[in-house]
Homo-oligomer: 219 residues x 2
DNA sequence: CGACATGTTGAACCTCATCAACCGACGTGG
DNA sequence: CCACGTCGGTTGATGAGGTTCAACATGTCG
């Protein structure tokens, strides 16, 4: 994105803090803004009429939050932790997107990535065991942590961005099963639990093996 | 899409028949074309290293098949029945998309629809029971059949586009469970099985109820 | 210190997967 | 023409993986 666009973007933007648990975008009401995630984690959730919930997407910085060309979302966006976001009014942003085809193109690419991620997760939800699900989730986070804290690439350590309940909703499990599988992975030595939220992975390859990944993802 | 575009599109297109079971696009090799689905059903599948399979998307006419701005797919596209498709060479199509922003915009919109569908399916895969899954799938097909055979909108009848094995792979179940749930729905009177592939739904509302839909979808 | 939220562990139960037999339709070859 | 194998689908018996319910542990905040 060139300077001109960045200037115009920041002109219409403003920062906002959001406390954990707050709904950012709701199912029925129209989405009136776009936003860039500066810090924190956003979960996209869907719920059945009787209250069963499923997380259908996670957003980490610097992910983008919004709904292009549609009046409203078919899901909720909720702060899974305290957030900082950078908000753009929807109409102004879309005017800008009309001016700069590059911008729309970038949004398109991001949407394709989200689609790929969603489909990858469908395989996990439909066909993997509880142990594989948990290991897969941890493997995902471990790889993410390598991108930022670029360490030696064989081990990793990171903080869980979600509570047990949210992890369960992400993996299509119950909190009890998540907890049990975590202790299983701990006792089998695949991970170390420093505290409830902090995790160490001595061997990424070992973790990837438990996750049942097609191919150990290179980084 | 205006006439000019349609003319140029058809100039680079050619028809092709594809027998059931054939792989159209593969995981690793680059996707070299786009295609419009004229008749038949295409399944998008992902597979774990040990052979468990999950269908991550279904395409019906007049859906569009292809991968914008990416060299290859992270999944397979396979003919779930005999097909007729209308093929566009990738480079020619992308040149055209560059000329007509409208075209890229349309592709974007379709991708958003696919993303919504994928996320809806994540809720099904992660949180619904076998009975709800099967009922939900049938409800989906029933609504689709109303769009074409526009009948009285309270009942429906249609042909299953998938084998039991494919239905199982779509719902994250086994063929046995799919079969059992179908006979359950039959004996409880929610559906009628005319033959293995032909289904009648006396009451869409009753089916939607079993499917555990948030809201009975109006049509 | 007690109340509440979050997480862990245990025991019982249930849904769904697994394994196996069976059925009907179809195509092939003797 | 009929035996035969194959394929797609159904049905039954059994068992395992996860859910459910409940108790307990830990941590935090008033």
């Amino acid at each position: 994105m060139d300077d001109d666009q960045l200037v115009k973007l920041s002109a219409i933007a403003h920062r906002r803090k959001v406390p954990s648990g707050q709904i950012i975008m709701s199912d029925q009401e129209p989405a009136s803004f776009f936003a860039n995630l500066i810090s924190g984690t956003v979960k996209l959730t869907k719920t059945t009429s009787d209250g069963r919930q499923q997380i259908v997407g996670l957003l980490f910085p610097p992910d983008f939050l919004g709904r292009s060309f549609r009046p409203s979302n078919p899901y909720f966006a909720e702060a899974a932790s305290d957030l900082e976001i950078c908000v753009f009014p929807k109409d102004a942003f879309e005017r800008l997107a009309g001016e700069y085809p590059e911008l729309e193109h970038r949004l398109f690419e991001r949407t394709l990535d989200e689609l790929d991620a969603a489909r990858e997760w469908m395989l996990l939800l439909g066909r993997k065991t509880a142990e594989e699900k948990v290991a897969d989730f941890l493997y995902l986070l471990a790889r993410r942590s390598l991108l930022t804290h670029c360490a030696d690439h064989a081990t990793a350590s990171f903080e869980l961005p979600l509570s047990r309940a949210d992890i369960a909703d992400y993996l299509g499990l119950t909190i009890e099963t998540v907890s049990r599988q975590l202790t299983r992975l701990k006792t089998s030595g695949v991970i170390r639990l420093i505290n409830n939220r902090l995790i160490e992975v001595p061997s990424l390859d070992a973790l990837s093996l438990v996750a049942g990944q097609d191919s150990p993802h290179p980084y």
